[in-house]
C-alpha cells in the first residue's frame, strides 16, 4: 500500500521538477514587441473572428510585432487569459469586441504597463492604458444602403444581424435610411439570428426574406451571413437577381451573389494603437475608423452585377457621404 503512495508522490515530484527545469529564460536581445488577441469565437469562423485575427496579423507585420491568440474562450476565462498574457510580458492585448470591456477594465487596472486595445469599445472606455477602436458603423450602414438603394428593383432590402449590438442596430438604421434617401419607396426587412455561428439559421432567415421580396442583402452576423449567401445563391440558380453586400472583409468572389463589400480595415486602426504603444503615447483615446482615414472603404465591385454607370453613382454618393453632403 505504502509503495503505491510513494510511487505516486515520486511521480508528482518528478513532474514538478522536470517542469521547473524546462522553464528557460527568455532569449535576450533587441526588444520585440508582442501583441495578443483574445476572442470568444473561433478565428477560423470565416467571419468576425477571422477578420480580426487577420487584421492583427497584418498590423503586426507592418510594425514587426510578434502575435499570439486565444480563441473560442468562455466568458469566465476572459480575465484569466488576459492576465496570463500580461504575466508573460506581452505589450498589447487586442480585445475585438465590447463584450470584453469589463474584463479589460479589471485587468488593465492591475497591469498599468500593458496596453489594451478594444475594438468597438465605448467612447467612455479609454484610460491611461486602454484605447478604443471604433469603426464608424453609421458610415458602414450608409454605404451598404447606398448600394442597396441603387440596386434594388423590388424595393425590399434585407438585413440579418447576429445579436442586437449597438453597432449592429446603427448599421441597420443607416442601411435603411441611406437606401431611402436614394429611393424613398424602399423598405427594409430585418431579423436577428441570436447567434454568430448558426449558419443554418442564416439560410432560413435569408430564404424567408427572399419570399418577402428582398433582392439586396446586407448582414452583420459573421458565419450566419455565409448561410444567408448560400440561400441567396440557391434562390438565384444560374442568373444572379438577388445580391449580397459583404462585410467586414472584401468578400468579392466568395459567392456568386456578392456584388460588393464594405470593408472595415481593422488592421489600420490596430496599427495606430501598436505605434502609440511603441512610442509611449498610448491611452486615453478613441481611434475612429471611417471613410476619412481610410479605415472604412468600399470594396471592389463585381462588374458582372453592377454596371459602370451605377458604379459611378455609388462612388459619387459615397464621396458625398464622406463630405457630409449626403442628406438623410
Amino acid at each position: 500500500m505504502k509503495k503505491a503512495l510513494a510511487l505516486l508522490l515520486a511521480l508528482c515530484l518528478a513532474l514538478v521538477a522536470l517542469s521547473a527545469c524546462a522553464k528557460g529564460p527568455e532569449a535576450p536581445g533587441e526588444k520585440t514587441y508582442r501583441v495578443a488577441m483574445i476572442c470568444d469565437s473561433s478565428i477560423s469562423d470565416g467571419g468576425w473572428g477571422a477578420a480580426c485575427y487577420n487584421g492583427m496579423v497584418a498590423a503586426a507585420e507592418k510594425r514587426g510585432w510578434e502575435t499570439a491568440y486565444t480563441d473560442s474562450i468562455d466568458q469566465s476565462a476572459y480575465a484569466d487569459t488576459m492576465i496570463s498574457y500580461c504575466d508573460l510580458g506581452y505589450d498589447l492585448i487586442f480585445a475585438p469586441g465590447n463584450q470584453y470591456s469589463d474584463a479589460v477594465k479589471q485587468v488593465a487596472a492591475d497591469y498599468p504597463d500593458v496596453c489594451f486595445a478594444v475594438l468597438n469599445g465605448a467612447t467612455s472606455l479609454p484610460t491611461e492604458n486602454i484605447m478604443s477602436m471604433l469603426p464608424n458603423a453609421d458610415q458602414i450602414g450608409s454605404i451598404a444602403g447606398i448600394i442597396a438603394g441603387l440596386m434594388s428593383k423590388s424595393n425590399v432590402i434585407g438585413f440579418i444581424g447576429g445579436m442586437e449590438l449597438d453597432t449592429t442596430k446603427s448599421k441597420l438604421a443607416h442601411f435603411e435610411s441611406a437606401a431611402q434617401v436614394i429611393n424613398p419607396a424602399i423598405k427594409a426587412v430585418s431579423a436577428y439570428a441570436g447567434s454568430f455561428n448558426d449558419t443554418a439559421k442564416g439560410m432560413e432567415l435569408a430564404a424567408s426574406m427572399i419570399n418577402e421580396g428582398a433582392d439586396v442583402f446586407f448582414g452583420d452576423a459573421s458565419a450566419v451571413d455565409s448561410g444567408a449567401r448560400q440561400a441567396i445563391d440557391q434562390a438565384n440558380g444560374d442568373t444572379v437577381r438577388i445580391i449580397d453586400i459583404g462585410q467586414p472583409a472584401d468578400l468579392l468572389g466568395q459567392n456568386p451573389c456578392v456584388a460588393c463589400s464594405v470593408v472595415t480595415d481593422n488592421a489600420a486602426m490596430l496599427a495606430i494603437c501598436l505605434e502609440k504603444c511603441e512610442t509611449g503615447t498610448f491611452g486615453n483615446e478613441v481611434v475612429f475608423g471611417s471613410l476619412e482615414n481610410n479605415c472604412v472603404y468600399l470594396g471592389k465591385f463585381n462588374d458582372a452585377l453592377i454596371d459602370a454607370d451605377t458604379q459611378a453613382k455609388i462612388l459619387d454618393y459615397v464621396k458625398q457621404l464622406q463630405e457630409g453632403t449626403f442628406s438623410k
Binding site: 500500500m1 514538478v16 517542469s19 524546462a22 480563441d71 492576465i83 504575466d87 479589471q106 465605448a122
Partner: protein, 353 residues
C-alpha cells in the same frame, strides 16, 4: 475500511495523472515542450499572489455547484439543475440590486437572500415534478437549465438591458461583495462557500436529520419502512441543493461578475456534477476537488497562452481529465474491479508485513 479510503483517493488521482500524460503526449505531437507546458500550468495557477487569487476566484462558483450536487445526490436526488439554479440565483440577485434603487450592505444581504430563495424555487419545481408526478429529475432539471439560460438571455437583451450592448447594468459599487485583500480579486463570497461546505458536512454526517437524508438516498424502500417520509426528504434535498446553487450565483454576480452578459455561468453546473462525483459525494472532498478544477482551468489558460497550442487542445485535455477521473471513481463500484483491487492490496500487504 481503511483500504477503501485509500483506494478512493488513489484511483482518481492516478486517473487524472493518466489524463495529463495523454495531454502531454498531444502537446508533444504539436511540437511544444510538454514539461514546459506543465511549467506554465503551475506558474499560471501559483506563479504569483494574483495567480493564486484567480484560482480562488474561479473556485468559488464551483464550490457552490459542487456542494449543490453533493447534497442532492446524497439523498438520491440526481439534480443536474445546478446550472439553472445558479443562474436563477444570479438573476434574482442582480434584479434586486438593480431595481431596489438604493445601494449598501443591506442590499447585498437582501440580494443574496433573493438569490438563495430563487435558487431554492428553481430546485423546488423539478422536486415537485419528481415527488408529485414521478418524473425523472435528470431530464426535468436539464430542461429547467435551458429555460433559465434562455430567460437570462431575455433579461440581458431586453428586460434589464443597459443601453447599447446586450448586457445588464453592473451591480452598484456599494452593493458589491467586498474583497478579502484589497489587491486580490478574492471576495468574502469564498468565506460563505467554505462555511457552507463545512455546514453541509456537519449536517450530513453529524446530525440525525442528515443521517436520515442519507438513508433515503441509500435505500428508499427501507427508509419508508422505517417511517421516513421519503418524498419530504427528497423535496427538501431539491430545495436545499437549489438554494446552495442559487446562493452561489448571487455571490458570483455580486462579487466577481457584476452583470449578466452573454455566456455567463455556462458549464458551472456540469462542473459541479463532475466535481462532486470525483469527490465521492463528500462535502469536504468536494471543496478540494473544486479547487483543483479551478487550478486546472486557470493554469491551463496560461498553458495555452504560453505554448500557443490551439484552445481546442486545452478543452480536449480538460475533457480527458473529467473522463478519466470520473471513470476512475466509477470503476471502483464495479464488483469485479473492486474485488481485484482489494485482492491485489491484500496480497501486497501480506508480503510487506
Amino acid at each position: 475500511m481503511q483500504k477503501t479510503k485509500v483506494l478512493n483517493l488513489l484511483i482518481p488521482t492516478l486517473s487524472v495523472l493518466l489524463a495529463f500524460l495523454i495531454g502531454m503526449i498531444i502537446i508533444l505531437c504539436l511540437g511544444s515542450n510538454p514539461f514546459q507546458a506543465i511549467g506554465y500550468l503551475v506558474k499560471g495557477a501559483f506563479g504569483s499572489a494574483t495567480n493564486f487569487g484567480n484560482t480562488v476566484v474561479r473556485a468559488m462558483p464551483l464550490l457552490f455547484t459542487g456542494l449543490c450536487t453533493c447534497f442532492a445526490y446524497r439523498c438520491g436526488v440526481f439534480n443536474l439543475g445546478g446550472e439553472g439554479q445558479f443562474l436563477s440565483g444570479a438573476m434574482a440577485a442582480i434584479t434586486v440590486s438593480l431595481l431596489i434603487g438604493s445601494e449598501g450592505w443591506w442590499v447585498t444581504i437582501l440580494a443574496m437572500l433573493a438569490g438563495t430563495v430563487m435558487g431554492g424555487l428553481w430546485g423546488l419545481l423539478p422536486g415537485l415534478l419528481k415527488t408529485w408526478r414521478g418524473l425523472n429529475e435528470m431530464i426535468t432539471t436539464i430542461m429547467f437549465n435551458y429555460v433559465a439560460a434562455l430567460f437570462m438571455g431575455y433579461l440581458y437583451t431586453t428586460a434589464l438591458r443597459e443601453g447599447s450592448v446586450p448586457q445588464t447594468a453592473p451591480v452598484p459599487d456599494m452593493t458589491k461583495i467586498g474583497r478579502v485583500f484589497p489587491d486580490l480579486r478574492i471576495t468574502w463570497g469564498i468565506a460563505v462557500a467554505l462555511v457552507l461546505g463545512v455546514a453541509v458536512w456537519y449536517f450530513l454526517f453529524n446530525t440525525s436529520k442528515g443521517f436520515q437524508l442519507r438513508a433515503v438516498g441509500f435505500n428508499q424502500t427501507a427508509s419508508s419502512y422505517n417511517g421516513l417520509s421519503v418524498k419530504r426528504y427528497m423535496l427538501a434535498a431539491f430545495v436545499v441543493s437549489g438554494a446552495i446553487a442559487g446562493l452561489g450565483g448571487a455571490c458570483d454576480i455580486l462579487g466577481t461578475q457584476f452583470r449578466l452578459i452573454s455566456g455567463y455561468g455556462g458549464g458551472y453546473g456540469f462542473d459541479g456534477v463532475a466535481i462532486a462525483l470525483i469527490a465521492q459525494l463528500h462535502p469536504i472532498a468536494t471543496m478540494i476537488v473544486a479547487y483543483f478544477f479551478a487550478v486546472l482551468r486557470v493554469g491551463s489558460t496560461t498553458m495555452q497562452v504560453g505554448t500557443g497550442v490551439p484552445t481546442s487542445v486545452i478543452d480536449i485535455i480538460q475533457a480527458l481529465v473529467i473522463i478519466f477521473a470520473v471513470a476512475g471513481s466509477s470503476m471502483q463500484y464495479l464488483p469485479k474491479f473492486r474485488a481485484f483491487m482489494l485482492n491485489l492490496f491484500e496480497k501486497k500487504e501480506a508480503v510487506s508485513e
